[in-house]
């Protein structure tokens, strides 16, 4: 095909594009933004998430932009209510099978929305400036001394295992320390909590413990109950990291925010159980957050991983895993980080120890 060009319009603006290009290419040519989740640049479109829906005014039909070939005379619209609702519904369906919290329950109930999970992790590593920075940012509105009733401790999921993390004591220990807060620290604002695990089933409890110390609650040596820095570190390490490791760079969450997609719209009956696979030193895999876009499969295939990943099963039970249920460490020998970074959700994410090299405490 030599220099064949296709003329179409996107949102009323004419565009001419080489034959074989997609509607998404045409829109991007015009600088029109269309959200995508399953699209991976440089790889053939897979067309699974259906979040890139647009409509052709000529036929009135909805089309996935990422893989629909641009055709002569198309009149693509990307912003109508119909298109917007289609995207919203696709996102809501994805959320209805999504298992895993965006934010930890402790932060959700905290009146000043202190980023408690992040604070606990900083304390756990002994990163005192970061910990102090988080406390300081919340401090102006926070009444640590008298009025804090520690609702965070009531909802702490560790209660379902043994006893909650003594969050208030850890926060007080950080506040009492003679250390400068990290002034440059940017704490992400609290956004709507998109997804909630709820009560853990028996089989699910162990899954959350991968990143947490199994130790019993720390008994303070101080008669007044104040924790020493070391005790605070030990106690903070008991945090299970219920919040999503990609809470703030998750494409699914940001799309859900943008399209006001509600997880409750289709209910969450009949989800798969919560699961966390920690077989790999660099990454964690939470299948409950996977949207089956296959980006990781495509990356592993492209980079010639010997074992790689594959789709397993079909229908609602379709999942992504290592062939023959082998270890994730064997499946992804060289491209684990690339897969985690390309993953549009928190299903595959780089482990915190890897994100903070040299600061690992445990």
């Amino acid at each position: 095909m030599s220099e064949l060009h296709i003329s179409l319009s996107v949102d009323g603006r004419a565009v001419s594009i080489a034959a074989g290009c997609t509607v998404l290419d045409a829109a991007r040519e015009l600088g029109i933004d269309i959200p995508t989740l399953c699209f991976l640049k440089g790889s053939a479109p897979f067309t699974s998430c259906m979040v890139c829906m647009v409509a052709d005014d000529v036929t009135g039909k909805l089309l996935p932009a990422c893989s629909s070939l641009a055709q002569e005379g198309m009149q693509i619209v990307t912003t109508t209510d119909h298109v917007r609702e289609a995207r919203q519904r696709a996102l809501e369906l994805l959320l209805s099978e999504h298992v895993g919290d965006c934010e930890g329950p402790c932060r959700c109930v905290c009146p000043v929305k202190m980023d408690i999970p992040r604070l606990l992790r900083a304390v756990g590593r002994g990163d005192w400036p970061e910990a102090r920075g988080i406390v300081d940012q919340a401090q102006p509105h926070c009444v640590l001394e008298q009025d804090c009733k520690a609702p965070c401790e009531r909802v702490c999921r560790r209660n379902q295992i043994d006893t909650h993390v003594s969050i208030r004591a850890v926060v007080r220990a950080v506040a009492a320390m003679d250390v400068e807060g990290d002034a440059a620290l940017a704490v992400a604002p609290f956004e709507r909590n998109v997804s909630v695990i709820g009560k853990l089933q028996d089989g699910e409890k162990a899954a959350l413990m991968n990143d947490a110390s199994t130790a019993a609650p720390v008994k303070s040596a101080d008669p007044g109950g104040a924790l020493s820095p070391d005790e605070a570190r030990q106690e903070a390490a008991r945090c299970m990291h219920c919040d999503c490791r990609k809470a703030h760079d998750c494409a699914l969450r940001s799309c859900a925010e943008a399209y006001e997609a509600s997880q409750r719209h289709y209910g969450t009956r009949g989800r798969h159980p919560f699961e966390q696979i920690a077989q790999h030193a660099d990454i964690l895999y939470e299948p409950g957050k996977c949207i089956r876009c296959g980006i990781c499969i495509r990356i592993a295939e492209r980079e010639a991983e010997p074992l790689g990943l594959t789709f397993i099963g079909r229908g609602f039970d379709l999942r992504i895993g290592v062939p023959f249920e082998q270890s994730l460490a064997d499946g992804l020998r060289t491209v684990a980080r690339a897969c985690a970074e390309a993953c549009p959700t928190g299903a595959l994410c780089v482990r915190p120890e890897i994100q903070h090299p040299g600061k690992v405490s445990r």
Partner: protein
């Protein structure tokens, strides 16, 4: 893990080759050999072939034919196709599980003898419920028979030293002829035993009769059907023949050689009859000899045969007989008189529309393929008939393989294809075998000509592979996940080359059009849908079977005239047409013609032409739930609207059937159905909501009743209870047959059902001789 013999795996690989595209064939070989896929065997395949571990595991977990866990020595496949479903297949499945005492999470009995599983459709809908054990299919299975069936199978297995009977001609050169079909469904009705009995009788009585294997008549409701053609050429048909009847039937028409033998035979027969009358038969087959079906009955009168031409007369693998009826004339005519373009224009002019589903004009597909890029082109015959409730492709492939091959050869000539592939479901082993043999016979006879290779690829159990892009992925040895179209297969198909994909029936129609001409074809059917259509008639109907009628015949004609209406004591409620992609059309609209456009306008579709008749005992919400469960299970899981959307629809339907419906459920269901229809990637997802939308359109009041906790048809287990009326005669049959001992044994007294223990399996109602068991709504005030 048990050791396996790797040399067997090597032999399978050697037989299939090591290309990536052979993955499914190799895995099928391993599955057949070991009854599951042992890890060691898969590792070996990984080592020796170009298949990657990711591909092998992805494929092994996609297709339902494969299993990763060892299975019992014999697999019991309970068909849960539509017709079997409405006739109680789930209860039969449960009965097998109970009989073999299977745990909740196990499908194999403790002795590892039997593995019980559900199968989408065995294509024996008129013998519903059907069960396949090993390679034997049983029809009309009841819960009470389950144990007997397994024993019967083991006994037959023990004597299986005797090889299968030959397929073609038997007996002396003829005085008369005895014809019998042994296709999958006739076998299920007992044709094998009838065949053996006929063989034995002809030999023992020295009858001057030829025993001829023929293609199926489609008269499945009478199977096994024995046709006797006397010396004068007059034909008599005997329906539902049992092996015991065969000798007597033959003697009615033919004289044994010699006077002495004649006399002794008569005497012996008389004696036999005296003894027989003391025995009560409880065999799996129905008894009714001596039904003479006349050719002039409405069943035949209303039919026009194009693809079924020669039904009941011609041997399926009798190439000479096919040619004697004008077979391969069309191919020869195309090659000698027409250019490929002329053949295409002929098909375009005929208005032939694809018989597999959507009804896309076949000629246009041919034209698109022919005008695509030069070089290698492929032709694929889509025989992945996965719709529960249809079996026409199986019957056509089993009974008329040459007709399909001729259609393929003509299409290949027209579009310039060098390789033709029959993609046939592995659930149809006889079809696979006969097509393979028929191809070989055509090659040997030099009929295919230079430059066309035909072969069979077996499907491994995935309904979605009826979708053409998924089908092509399967032939390439991949998971059957569809991709977006365009590009269409006619531009980029198998291995990226232009590929024509046509359904079995479409191809089987082609030779007739070439020989008889466009005018004759258009004279049949309607202007928008010319020609005929085979319909698989099953469900709650008196005469189920395969029929072929002109397009435009009304539903009423098919159900009442041809099918003989619904069973006595019930009223015709609706027909489900087109399987999981189709919809339900209520009895009050029965006068609409059966053609592509009329069905579409009523929210249904032709699909492949499965027509399941429903009566007043069928619950439409439950039927919708059944189809959604099927689509959900068969969804490839790729796109969001299908994978999650159908699941959320099913959640609502399950809630309704369980009596947990809420106000707003119906509206939510309707809206979500609309999104799944609009947003899904392929035909499976786009049409999956049809059974729901069409029942909502025509039977909304039943949905509303379910929200209120009532099932008007008395089918949904959670909404009903069983009770015994004062008509009870105290015979104890119900107590004896109850699988969960929910009915105390109280001879000569009225029996009582313990509602808490009752599993609503319906057995008591079926066995009660006094019709004293009734179904009541669970909630008062129905």
């Amino acid at each position: 893990m048990s050791e396996i013999d790797i040399s067997q795996v090597d032999a399978i690989i050697d037989g299939c080759g090591t290309a990536r595209s052979e993955a499914i064939t190799i895995l099928t070989g391993i599955q057949d050999c070991f009854h599951y896929l042992p890890q060691a065997a898969l590792d070996r395949v990984g080592e020796r072939t170009d298949c990657t571990p990711a591909q092998l595991y992805g494929v092994a977990t996609f297709y339902s034919y494969f299993r990763m866990q060892p299975a019992g020595a014999h697999r019991v496949k309970v068909c849960i196709g539509t017709a079997c479903h409405v006739k109680g297949a789930e209860a039969v499945y449960d009965a097998f599980r109970r009989y073999l005492a299977l745990d909740e999470d196990s499908d194999t009995d403790a002795d590892r003898l039997f593995t019980v599983e559900k199968v989408a459709c065995l294509g024996c809908c008129m013998l519903a419920p059907a069960v396949q054990i090993g390679r034997t299919t049983y029809g009309h299975v009841t819960q009470a028979q389950v144990g007997g069936l397994l024993r019967d199978f083991l006994a037959a297995e023990a004597q299986r030293a005797k090889a299968d009977g030959g397929e073609v001609l038997r007996g002396a050169a003829s005085g008369g002829e005895v014809r019998l079909c042994r296709c999958t469904s006739c076998e299920a009705a007992g044709a094998g035993a009838v065949w053996e009995a006929a063989e034995a009788a002809i030999e023992a009585l020295h009858l001057n009769v030829r025993l001829q294997l023929v293609g199926c008549t489609g008269l499945s409701f009478e199977a096994p059907l024995l046709e006797v053609v006397g010396e004068g050429g007059d034909a008599f048909r005997y329906g539902m023949v049992r092996a015991d009847d065969v000798e007597a039937t033959l003697l009615r028409h033919f004289q044994p050689a010699g006077l002495h033998r004649r006399v002794t035979t008569r005497a012996l027969r008389w004696l036999d009859r005296c003894v027989d009358s003391f025995e009560e038969h409880e065999a799996p087959f129905r008894y009714a000899a001596d039904i003479r079906e006349t050719i002039a009955s409405p069943y035949w009168q209303r039919q026009d045969h194009i693809v079924l031409d020669g039904a009941g007369e011609m041997g399926p693998l009798d190439l000479a007989a096919y040619r004697a009826r004008g077979g391969f004339e069309a191919l020869q005519r195309c090659r000698e008189r027409y250019t490929p373009d002329e053949v295409i224009e002929l098909i375009v002019a005929s208005g032939l529309r694809g018989r597999g589903g959507g009804g896309f004009p076949a000629g246009l597909k041919w034209r698109q393929t022919a005008s695509a890029a030069e070089g290698m082109r492929y032709l694929v015959c889509n025989g992945d008939e996965g719709d529960p409730g249809s079996f026409m492709d199986r019957m056509i492939l089993e009974s008329f393989p040459f007709r399909v091959i001729e259609g393929m050869a003509i299409a290949a000539y027209a579009v310039g294809a060098g390789e033709g592939i029959f993609y046939v479901r592995c659930e149809y082993p006889l079809a696979v075998k006969r097509v393979r043999e028929a191809i070989q016979m055509c090659v040997d006879a030099g009929l295919l000509g230079e430059g066309l290779a035909l072969r069979v690829a077996e499907g491994a159990g995935a309904f979605v592979c009826g979708e053409e892009t998924a089908l092509l992925a399967a032939i390439e040895g991949q998971r059957g996940m569809p991709r977006i179209r365009p590009p269409y297969p006619s531009e980029q198909g198998l291995h990226g080359r232009p590929t024509l994909v046509n359904n079995v029936e479409t191809l089987a129609t082609v030779p007739w059009i070439v020989v008889k001409g466009v005018e004759s074809f258009r004279a049949l059917g309607t202007p928008g849908s010319p020609g005929t259509k085979t319909l698989a008639l099953a469900g709650r109907i008196v005469k189920g079977g395969l029929i072929e009628v002109p397009m435009g015949t009304t539903i009423r004609d098919v159900v009442e005239e041809i099918g003989g209406g619904v069973e006595e004591g019930h009223s015709f409620k609706a027909v489900q047409i087109g399987g999981p992609s189709g919809g339900c059309i209520p009895a009050r609209l029965a006068d609409i013609p059966i053609d592509f456009d009329s069905l579409h306008s009523e929210g249904s579709m032709m699909g492949s032409g499965g027509l399941v008749v429903l009566d007043d005992s069928d619950c439409m919400v439950e039927i919708a739930r059944y189809f959604l469960a099927f689509s959900q299970d068969e969804s490839c899981g790729k796109c969001t609207f299908c994978r999650v959307g159908t699941r959320r629809m099913l959640d609502i339907l399950e809630r309704l059937c369980a009596g947990e419906g809420r106000s707003g459920d119906i509206e939510d269901l309707e809206k979500l159905a609309g999104w799944v229809q609009a947003g899904s990637l392929c035909g499976l997802g786009k049409t999956a909501p049809n059974p729901v939308l069409s029942t909502l359109q025509h039977f909304r009041e039943e949905y509303e009743a379910h929200v209120a906790g009532q099932c008007p048809a008395g089918r949904c287990k959670a909404l009903i209870r069983y009770a015994i009326t004062t008509d009870c005669i105290g015979c104890t049959r119900c107590a004896q047959h109850c699988p969960v001992d929910a009915i105390p044994f109280t001879p000569h007294e009225r029996h009582v059902i313990d509602d808490a223990a009752c599993i609503r399996c319906d057995t008591c109602k079926q066995v009660c001789p006094a019709n004293a068991v009734i179904i009541r709504p669970k909630k008062a005030g129905a």
